[in-house]
Amino acid sequence: MEPALLSPAAFKFFHVPAAFFAFLIPLIGIGAFLFIMKRRLDPLLKAAPDPRFGRIAQRVYQVLKIWLAQWRHPRYMTAGVLHILLFAGFLILGARSLELMFVGFWEGFTLPGFDGPLGHAYKVIKDYATTWVFFVVLIAAVRRGLFKPDRYAVPKRYGKDHTLEAIFVLGLIGTLVVSESLFDGSLLAAQIQQGHKAEFVAPATLAWFFRNLLADRPMASLQSLHIGSYFVHHLTFFFFLCFLPMGKHFHVITSLFNVFFMRLERGNIKPVRHGVSDAQLDELESFGVKRFEDFTWKHVLDFYSCADCGRCSDNCPANAVGRPLSPRFISIKGRDYAFANYPLLDPDVVKEADYQLIGTVYSEDEIWSCTTCGACEQECPVGIEYIDKIVDLRRGMVDSGNVPQSLQKPLGAMEKRGNPWGKMEKKRAEWTKALAPEFRVKDFSAGETAETLYFADSITSYDDRMQAIAQATARVLHRAGIDFGVLGKDEKDSGHEARRFGEEMLFQNLKASNTEAILASGARRIVTADPHAFNALKKDYQGLPPVEHISQVIVRAVKEGRLRLKPAERDGKVYTYHDPCYLGRHNDLYDDPRQALDAIPGLQRVEMLRSRDRSFCCGGGGLMLFYEPEEEQRMGVLRVQMAAKTGANVIVTACPFCLVNMEDAIKVAGLEGKMAAIDLAELIVGHLVD
């Protein structure tokens, strides 16, 4: 039986076979695409190394979860669901597009295996996919064009708005699905008119709609529509393919790879240069990222993969308080740099040499503004990393001597005295003197021995207010029956922030000194109440005994009956727990501190809207206390207000820096008397059964 309409493979434009064009278009399209991709690959090949080819099983798991299952998308429900539908549509319709590519010059082509029932089932699914993609495109366009969620706005200092690009791409997608449906719909209408046995078409799909709409059209116009829509689809498809690597839609191609190669650990910092051991650091010519090519290839891939969705910046505390940092633009500016300096058509225009990123692409304050809280990385649906980039840029600045005066003092003091305040080493364990004799603390540096080492770190050792945390911790440890001691004058700052502020060599010195003292102490495990020290000892140090946070110790001691807690008084106190970034996001310790709180019978606890992995940084610890940022308000103030909103009147933290920031913020927010902040260990000590 003659087909109802001539297929593109059989059609002729004035004696020229349409198949010729149908073949030429993909040939040119794919050729151009490969050329563009080669050019886009150039900066990756010039970038710094990063061995990310191991732990394949974990990587495949990440791909299945974060890429294929779009795990992080529903964290933003509307946009997330829309994206999942689009993404699923793309995957489903990918096969159809491949098929259509061949149909143009291969009469009756079907994908292998698609000529039977599988093909029919696929046809139904793809017709619905086409339809939902069409509606999602409409909704997305209205959302971007009319409702304009704040998240997508581009502040002036970061360049021009991206709405047009977004709408344009939605237009392309819309064109693809409409032309595909029209191609099918016109054929179906013709088949009915010709009395052929019309193929089944799923009801309420776009193809079904077009079939009904075109039912009475003359055959000639159906034939034109059929061929016209084919070529519209064909051209749009290959134009879109080559347009993807030109902007934020590059993620359509790169996200699969970016997720595959994404970081598997959290809380750690990349080495100065992969493949160079700590002992070889002195041999390196330069530290950190100064020029674009100093980034690792994964970081360049990150730039390519940013979809401009704004989730990172929406969760960034620095951005929220008006600091000059918006993680999204770290990526977009990086991508713009790569595109501008590796232009498609002029391979010689690569501006290398001495092109410094700081002062041109990124500003100093932008890079110092980050508290490394990790909220951006937690949120990014395509696995983009920011902390390592920020730290690498800081390493570059430190290496060039480009460090704010406010940070030079504490860095110098850490070098000389082992703590950022420049306090005397011999006074590091002075806080123990205020403890009652029954709570006496052993001092390894005085030759005493114990099974457990309590690593207090600088702020808890020296700050008048935070010494109370050390004292509370010591009392909890005593009451839990743990034999412990401190390093005393031999303890130095963990260097957690020294490293994250880019002073790698200072960190290396502190690490070496602490490691030696810890190993010499003979302690078999380490406990700390400072999440920054916790993270440093766990992630930045090697070869130490196991490290625990005091909240873990408390929970276990309560379970084993070594710590008994009395009920909370009925004093109207409502507690809320603030997750410290380096306990929660960077170390997944969300439940222990909560369990410790809930172990106090009758304690009333509420959750803030932003809790657990969406916790909002208090303002940062360590050196961040010294840095004087440009900002409109303090992160801590925002956080305290969030706590107040839940109806809580006590914020419990489990980090000395959080406590400093919260207590300051309560004053600044004018909530004194209405809100209080307390450390977990202090709260537990207050509820110990006598």
Partner: protein, 262 residues
């Protein structure tokens, strides 16, 4: 332009708890940490910036013992090309004039267009720069917080009473004492210091400098420290109380009453 910057190693006031020794004639030096005198650090930074723009070299010099070499290295890690350690037992106990005399001898051993000192040292009396200029018979400007390089001369700004700025032209060669705040000194990390750890720093003693050892050192000092004491804590601090608005109102009132606000 070839610039010589005079620097000094001093106990770091921000990182020490300064206590008197038992005899009461000096501070307790057991647990002290030292650093380069803050003013001198600004002077070195300024010299480096001048050389970065106008070309030339920066030499740092100090009078001190072997340990003083560490501050020279730190300044060389910042970018100074050469270090000079003026080290001799005969120099110990020199007063300001003695130090100026030693430095003068070092200046005359080289050829410098510009000599910078810090305006003062944490443990000093702010006198060496001026004396050095006088001994060298060179023009001098003190408390300089701005330098613009011209042809054969400099334009220098000085901070004067009430935060006002005075601008002067000064011909080269000259001596300037540098005030803090003239720039933002760059950071020197441990990595920077390690890079210059093995650079040879020449040491010059009295003989090398052609100095009469009798004219420097403790014996020649005409200014001698008699005593050190911690001043008695005076009354006078007043903590304002009340709501924030009340405190602000009281503070404004007090500032007006004492002439701090017009």
């Amino acid at each position: 332009m070839d610039i010589l910057v005079c620097v000094k190693r001093v106990p770091d006031t921000s990182e020490n708890e300064i206590e008197l020794n038992r005899a009461g004639n000096d501070i307790n030096r057991d647990d002290l940490v030292y650093s380069v005198n803050e003013w001198d650090n600004y002077a070195v930074e300024e010299a480096l910036r001048i050389v970065e723009n106008a070309g030339g070299s920066v030499t740092v010099v100090t009078v001190g013992d072997e340990e003083a070499e560490e501050v020279l290295r730190r300044e060389m890690a910042m970018g100074a090309d050469k270090g000079l350690l003026l080290c001799d037992e005969a120099f110990e106990g020199s007063d300001g004039m003695g130090l100026a005399r030693i430095l003068k001898a070092a200046v005359e051993k080289g050829k410098y267009d510009l000599i910078l000192t810090g305006a003062q040292a944490d443990d000093g009396a702010g006198q060496v720069g001026g004396m050095l200029a006088a001994m060298l018979d060179l023009p001098f400007a003190s408390l300089v917080n701005l330098i613009e390089v011209g042809e054969g001369k400099l334009k220098v700004g000085r901070e004067i009473e009430g935060g006002n700025q005075e601008m002067n032209a000064i011909s080269l060669p000259c001596v300037l004492s540098i005030q803090t705040g003239i720039n933002e000194p760059r950071y020197v990390g441990i990595r920077g210091i390690r890079k210059v750890a093995s650079v040879e720093i020449p040491r010059l003693g009295a003989g090398d400098l052609g100095l009469d050892a009798g004219k420097v050192g403790a014996a020649a000092a005409k200014v001698k420290r008699l005593d050190y004491f911690v001043p008695e804590m005076g009354a006078g601090a007043e903590i304002l109380e009340g709501s924030t608005d009340e405190i602000i109102a009281k503070l404004l009132e007090l500032l007006k009453a004492k002439g701090g606000l017009k």
